[in-house]
């Protein structure tokens, strides 16, 4: 179970096991923030940052909790770590780019409930990854997430300029587009060896 190579994990988490398009994690921002690439890209980066920090802390926490046989506190501890990491990122963004902070609005604190962040922590625990594997998994996951977000945002920006039938517009269209993207990413299957 902990025998995957780092290269395999990296490639899988970005392509064939893409968090958004294959594992359905991080749907809220995927459907909510992808109306513009200039929002999608920074949000993707912020989320990647949170994912990596949370993954490292979760790894450490898991070791501690296992030693103390307190595994049932795992979930609640992970979520506390994530909430703190998000708080940290919020402060950083607010300090260095107030415009971006305002533009992202509610979606920045919503990273706390982003399934992708919690999902990384839970999956790396379930798959028994060691430190290097967890870090690779988290980074790859974040990168894959950002790619998916930017891809969908670029497509949606174009689609907005074309003649979409009234009944299809809005979330229905976004979902259909996402489905096609997901189909495309299925073509990467088995690429991680």
């Amino acid at each position: 179970m902990g025998r995957e190579s780092l290269g395999q994990i990296l490639v899988t988490s970005i392509l064939s096991g893409n968090f958004v398009l294959a594992m359905f994690l991080g749907m809220c921002p995927f459907l909510g923030v992808t109306h513009s690439v200039s929002l999608a890209f920074p949000l993707g980066l912020a989320t990647t940052f949170v994912i990596v920090i949370s993954s490292l802390c979760a790894y450490a926490l898991n070791i501690v909790l296992s030693q103390l046989h307190l595994e049932f506190l795992r979930l609640i501890c992970y979520i506390v770590v994530i909430a703190s990491a998000v708080q940290l990122v919020e402060m950083i963004v607010k300090k260095y780019s107030p415009a971006l902070f305002r533009a992202l609005g509610i979606y920045l604190p919503l990273i706390t409930t982003n399934c992708a962040v919690l999902g990384v922590a839970l999956f790396q625990t379930a798959r028994d990854y060691d430190f290097a594997q967890s870090l690779t998994f988290a980074t790859g996951g974040g990168v894959g997430f950002t790619i998916a977000l930017v891809l969908l945002a670029s497509v949606r920006e174009r689609v907005n300029l074309s003649n979409v039938p009234g009944v299809l517009s809005g979330t229905a269209m976004t979902l259909m587009l996402a489905g096609i993207l997901s189909l495309a990413f299925m073509g990467f299957a088995g690429i991680g060896g």
Partner: protein, 227 residues
């Protein structure tokens, strides 16, 4: 924001008290649930494992669990030794108390997620005599043929996993080959069109056998009879 702040910032003590009460309450609920569900959950797991073992070693009537300790010995799982390496196996005994086979689990990444396979090992022929899929989330109709495809399952009636003369490694690694090209007893014929899942099964078995058998085979007499 500043008007609110001027109006009422709750004193830190009240914040701490509130968080403290909530944490205590949540802690109680979690611990209570854990304790009360533990017997049922453990029983379920035991039943599932037993079912899997009996499926790959049908002549068995009793099972005992063993761990492989980090220094290569075998210890009964009940003793609590050796669990950290994660290497464990189940010794299956017939009605006469004699060892009929050993079952162990292997896992490898398949198309969608990890594929976990239980395999049955016969010390007499030094081969694997059956497999059962413990869990997998492969593509229905394609990957899940590893459950049902008769030709694929036939690979595992006598899969050669002999050790080298010094019993330190597998003489021949278990390899998955293209459908129809199997010519050695340690090869597995993949399912046409389900290569990734077939390879996962093969890799899982290979990795597990490679880790387990060099520790198990030299110590077989220790577990030859039901304790």
């Amino acid at each position: 924001m500043s008007a609110e702040a001027a109006a009422q910032t709750t004193p830190t003590l009240v914040l701490v008290r509130a968080l403290g009460i909530i944490s205590a309450l949540c802690g109680l609920i979690i611990v209570g649930t854990y304790e009360s569900t533990l017997p049922a959950a453990t029983a379920n797991r035991r039943i599932a494992t037993e079912r899997a073992v009996f499926k790959v070693l049908p002549k068995a009537t009793a099972i005992e669990e063993f761990n492989v300790t980090p220094d290569g010995r075998i210890a009964p799982a009940a003793g609590g030794e050796g669990a950290p390496t994660g290497l464990k196996f189940f010794a299956a005994y017939g009605p006469d108390g004699k060892l009929t086979g050993v079952a162990a689990e292997g896992a490898a990444k398949g198309y969608a997620d990890t594929v976990r396979v239980m395999f049955g090992y016969d010390p007499g022929c030094q081969c694997i005599i059956g497999i059962g899929v413990v869990s997998m989330r492969e593509t229905p109709g394609i990957g899940d043929k590893v459950y049902t495809d008769k030709d694929f399952l036939a690979n595992f009636k006598a899969l050669d996993v002999k050790l080298t003369a010094d019993m330190s490694a597998l003489a021949n690694e278990v390899k998955v080959v293209k459908h129809g090209t199997k010519n050695q007893p340690w090869q597995i014929d993949a399912i046409a069109g389900a290569t990734v899942t077939s390879r996962a099964v093969g890799k899982g078995i290979n990795d597990a056998a490679r880790a387990l058998l060099p520790a198990l085979v030299p110590n077989l007499e220790k577990i030859a009879r039901k304790s």
